[in-house]
């Protein structure tokens, strides 16, 4: 027994005070512990093998038997208290330390992110894709034909013989007397009809060429041709298909107008106008004040064309249509200069 220890029965209050004092000292020291290191020192000081509380527990034998249970309980209570408080403090300090670390790793979120900027699809091809998707969804296939074409397919087989005034409608680039750059995608009609039997429904997108260059003409441009042939295709069907198309491509319930026109390879022929999507039909620069904009040429396949392709014109009827992709693109995106398409300025291209 410790020599200073007072007789047990008298010392109960002192023991209590003593342990209370340990607890108070601990609380004080814990509050001052600013780091995990400090905390570890406190833990060793109180709870270590040679720590203050451990020593107290070891002194149990010096306490009178009657006081022993109370003493033991008290010391244990304080021990648990110190353990819990230390743990809590540790968590707290760890959090502070992590916060400091995270703060030191801070990135300037106002700096731009790093990425590979995606490029762009040329506006003509973007619209071409939309056109194709619409017609494919309506059951049309895709066909192609050569851009350098024989006079026969480009003209003769489309009921445009040599010395026909309709050849004036198109200025042609010639390679020689019989070979030319196709002036429209219509020759694909003939090439497909030569190979396949009805029913037929397809579109033929592609580049076409005309010997003409000014503000509103480029020597190369894009067309989409369409053909549907079966035993019972009518002009009213043509109206149905094209009205659906026009409303879907312009994503608007635009008015559509069919008016008579002339193409040697269709009869009856039509020009298809839409209500001007810029002014809404009241008249503006784009529609030249008429309120209408021409977007398609169309008509019933001329029986002469069927004959030349080897189809029986009495057995089959069909319709054909053609449109300029540049024109539709200009209308969709309010592009006012045709030449922008072929200048390929990145500031223009990147907008699509």
């Amino acid at each position: 027994m410790h020599p200073d220890c007072p007789p047990t029965f008298k010392l109960t209050g002192k023991i209590m005070l003593d342990i209370q004092e340990i607890k108070n000292r601990f609380i004080h020291e814990l509050a001052a512990a600013g780091s995990l290191y400090d905390l570890q020192q406190i833990r060793i000081k109180y709870l270590g093998k040679k720590g203050i509380l451990t020593a107290k527990l070891k002194s149990l034998s010096t306490v009178s038997e009657s006081e022993r249970p109370a003493f033991g309980r008290l010391v244990n209570e304080v021990k648990v208290f110190i353990e819990n408080e230390t743990d809590a403090r540790e968590r707290f300090l760890k959090r502070i330390e992590l916060d400091k670390k995270l703060a030191s790793e801070a990135l300037d979120i106002t700096l731009p992110g790093k990425y590979t900027a995606a490029g762009s699809v040329h506006p003509i091809n973007r619209v071409l894709k939309e056109i194709i998707d619409i017609f494919v969804s309506m059951g049309f296939d895709i066909e192609v034909g050569p851009e350098v074409e024989q006079d026969y397919y480009n003209f003769e087989a489309l009921n445009i013989p040599k010395d026909h005034p309709a050849r004036d409608m198109q200025d042609t680039f010639y390679i020689n007397d019989d070979v030319l750059l196709r002036t429209h995608t219509s020759p694909v009609q003939v090439r497909v009809m030569e190979k396949k039997k009805p029913p037929l429904s397809f579109i033929a997108p592609g580049k076409v060429y005309r010997c003409d260059a000014d503000v509103s003409h480029t020597p190369m441009f894009h067309q989409v041709e369409g053909l549907m042939v079966d035993t019972d295709i009518s002009f009213s069907d043509l109206k149905g298909i094209l009205e659906v198309f026009v409303r879907r491509i312009f994503d608007k319930d635009v008015p559509v107008r069919f008016r008579p026109s002339y193409f040697p390879f269709t009869e009856p022929s039509a020009e298809v106008d839409i209500g001007c999507i810029l002014c809404g039909g009241t008249g503006c620069r784009v529609c030249k004040g008429s309120g209408w904009i021409e977007v398609l040429g169309a008509g019933m396949v001329n029986p002469r064309v069927f004959e030349m392709a080897g189809y029986d014109p009495d057995a089959y009827t069909g319709f054909a249509f053609g449109m300029g992709v540049e024109r539709i693109t200009m209308l969709k995106y309010s592009i006012d200069d045709l030449r922008m398409f072929f200048e390929n300025d990145i500031r223009f291209l990147r907008q699509f």
Partner: protein, 685 residues
């Protein structure tokens, strides 16, 4: 065709504004493109399609409008006294395949002078220039009736003879416009007894022109074969109001009305007397009956028109109609040369019934569903892949300047020299069809750099054209790309050399398409940097190139950048697409773990990593799953002339977990092979 409303009212009483007339005409196929106010009158600009020469006149438009409004047409009267007696001019058609009718009248004792104001005003409103009263009256009649007339000074005609015949070898004529013209033997001419006096249907001769001295006039009104006139006009490059109408087709019956009315007007205004008519008309016009089936018409249009509605329209249009059981027979008036077949009748009925009144239906077709071609789908994948790699798509003309091939040092026997040449190019820069996309992309680069753009990534897919010896050239799809990134400061560094950025974009495409057999071999292209270029081989065939543009060429482009490094790429897309596997087949996911081993070697710097990788990949062992290169390094700690390459090999078995022991011998053997074959040394060994 310019149509003054005031003139139109002379032949038709209608109660419509100019705007309403425009709308009516447009909706019946005579599109009014513009209108203009002149002296309180409205002049309509009507776009007459090539099939409707009968509408190239005031009467023609009035006639169409009359039919549309169901109003009577007031045809102008001609009052000719024929006091001039028999016509002194003797007319003979020699080549009657090219001229089916030639009529004329002499007007004796005329006095040329300025036309009266009302004639001048009207022809000016229609865009013609007044000349003198006689010429103006022929023009007036051309505008009013649509039939071209020609006035000769009768006294200049040798022997007062008119012969209609083809040119003979070496025929020449000075035309009214003062130009001496050589005539091809196909051209139809009007001759007097000694010489050509006019190019039939195109332009008169200067020697027989009506002038201030003219006392007697011979007025011609003829029908010339359309395609002959067109050929002559095209050959001569001479297009006139007359040739424009003759080549489209004129009214062989109505031409005498125009003749008579003009002769009457000349006599009235210039004070002459009119002779009797000469009229060579070897085979009079016979209009054939066209059978039109009611059911066919309705089925073609999708309409349910009654028989009377159909025949009613045709009658209003001036056709003779004979009804039969399930069809009718229509006889076209002589001015409607365009109506020959049943389908032409269908068109007339559709026009006059009104396109807007034809129902809107959905075609009844077998359900097959639209198919995108494989080519189209692949093309979309390729473009999308390049777009993701940061490239923007361009579209260029299919033309090129042949001299670009010289700039690119393309050798004389290179297939890219087999160009297709335009006979009538717009300019020399656009005179050949492209055999390569590269020149267009270089032009795009120059444009964008000149606009101050410093980050250029562009691609194009397009057909190129190579002469084939066949009538049509080979059309092959190519992919081209160009890349320039100026070394201006950037925040986040990109460490790979630019060549690899472009190669990476190409590899992304190849991966996307699941193509296997692509190889890169040293390039033979003279326009590329020797050390930074490669030819692309697909299935062992050269399909294109990738590389940095040769500094000499970059310099020639004067980009005004310091040491610009332009990376370019061009490859045959059709070849590339032919290697795409038809169907995607699922590969089972491996179930057993892999073992990895790295190999680091020091080798001669000229050794290509790809060749070393190939050695590993070609090593015969089922256990090698994958081999990749993960480091290529020159510099510190590596001897001069050498480089360090590091590879990672992944071993795996399909049916069991591999043990280190199992791969030990394989790996050791691979390492030994590499050392032996490359002459290199293991690093750190």
């Amino acid at each position: 065709m310019r149509i003054p409303i005031e003139w139109l009212r002379e032949f038709l009483d209608f109660d419509l504004s100019a705007g309403e007339v425009s709308m009516k005409l447009t909706m019946v196929g005579l599109e009014v493109e513009a209108s203009e106010e002149i002296d309180g009158d409205t002049v309509l600009e009507v776009n007459v399609t090539p099939n409707r020469p009968d509408c190239l006149s005031i009467i023609g438009i009035a006639r169409e409008l009359a039919a549309l409004l169901d109003l009577p047409l007031k045809m102008p009267e001609s009052d000719i006294g024929e006091e001039g007696g028999p016509c002194e001019v003797n007319v003979g058609i020699i080549d009657d395949d090219l001229c089916q009718r030639y009529a004329g009248r002499a007007i004796i004792g005329v006095k040329t002078a300025d036309s009266p104001d009302w004639i001048k005003k009207r022809i000016e409103k229609c865009g013609m220039r007044p000349i003198n009263n006689i010429v103006d009256i022929t023009n007036y009649m051309l505008l009013e009736m649509g039939h071209p007339l020609h006035a000769f000074d009768m006294d200049t005609l040798n022997a007062r003879a008119i012969r209609v015949a083809r040119a003979s070898a070496g025929s020449k004529i000075k035309t009214l416009d003062g130009v001496d013209r050589d005539l091809s033997e196909n051209a139809l001419l009007i001759w007097d007894s000694a010489r050509p006096v006019a190019i039939a249907g195109v332009m008169g001769g200067a020697d027989t022109e009506v002038s201030g001295k003219t006392k007697n006039v011979f007025l011609e009104s003829a029908y010339f074969y359309p395609s002959s006139i067109r050929r002559t006009s095209r050959t001569l490059g001479l297009k006139t109001e007359a040739s424009y109408r003759f080549e489209r087709g004129t009214d062989i019956e109505g031409l005498v009305k125009a003749l008579d009315r003009a002769a009457g007007l000349i006599a009235r205004i210039t004070g002459g007397t009119v002779s009797k008519r000469v009229d060579a008309y070897p085979r009079p016009y016979d209009s054939k009956k066209i059978k039109a089936r009611y059911q066919k018409i309705n089925r073609t249009l999708g309409t349910a028109l009654s028989e009377d509605e159909m025949t009613g329209i045709m009658k209003r249009l001036g056709f003779g109609v004979e009804k039969a059981a399930d069809c009718f027979f229509a006889t076209a008036p002589s001015f409607r040369t365009d109506v020959k077949n049943e389908i032409d009748i269908v068109e007339e009925i559709a026009r006059f019934h009104g396109y807007d009144r034809i129902p809107v239906t959905v075609p009844r077709v077998p359900v097959s569903g639209g198919r995108k071609s494989k080519h189209y789908s692949y093309m979309s994948l390729i473009k999308e892949s390049l777009r993701r790699s940061g490239f923007s798509e361009v579209v260029n003309y299919s033309f090129m300047n042949y001299s670009m091939l010289d700039l690119l040092n393309i050798s004389q026997d290179d297939p890219r020299r087999k160009t297709v040449v335009l006979r009538n190019p717009l300019n020399v820069e656009e005179s050949h069809l492209r055999t390569t996309i590269t020149p267009s992309l270089i032009r795009n680069l120059v444009h964008n750099v000149s606009m101050g753009i410093r980050d250029v990534r562009l691609f194009e897919t397009a057909r190129v054209f190579t002469a084939s010896g066949e009538p049509l050239p080979h059309e092959v799809h190519h992919l081209g790309a160009i890349y320039l990134r100026d070394k201006s400061p950037v925040l986040w560094k990109e460490d790979a050399p630019d060549l690899y950025t472009v190669k990476g974009a190409l590899e992304a495409v190849i991966k996307e398409l699941k193509i296997e057999d692509v190889r890169f071999q040293p390039s033979s292209e003279m326009f590329l940097h020797k050390g930074k270029s490669s030819d692309i081989y697909l299935s062992g065939k050269k399909a294109g190139y990738i590389g940095v543009l040769h500094p000499d060429i970059t310099e020639a482009l004067s980009l005004k950048l310091s040491k610009p490094e332009v990376v370019m790429l061009e490859t045959d897309l059709d070849m590339l697409m032919s290697l795409i596997p038809d169907a995607m087949v699922y590969t089972p996911i491996p179930r057993y773990p892999y073992i990895e081993r790295d190999i680091a070697m020091i080798v001669d710097e000229s050794l290509r990593a790809g060749d070393v990788i190939d050695l590993i990949r070609n090593y015969k062992s089922d256990l090698i799953e994958e081999a990749v290169i993960f480091d290529s390094y020159k510099g510190k700690n590596i001897p001069d002339g050498m480089k360090s390459l590091a590879f990672n090999i992944r071993y795996r078995a399909k049916d069991r977990t591999l043990t280190d022991l199992e791969i030990e011998s394989v790996h050791r053997d691979i390492v030994e092979t590499l050392v032996k074959r490359t002459g290199g040394a293991l690093r750190g060994a």
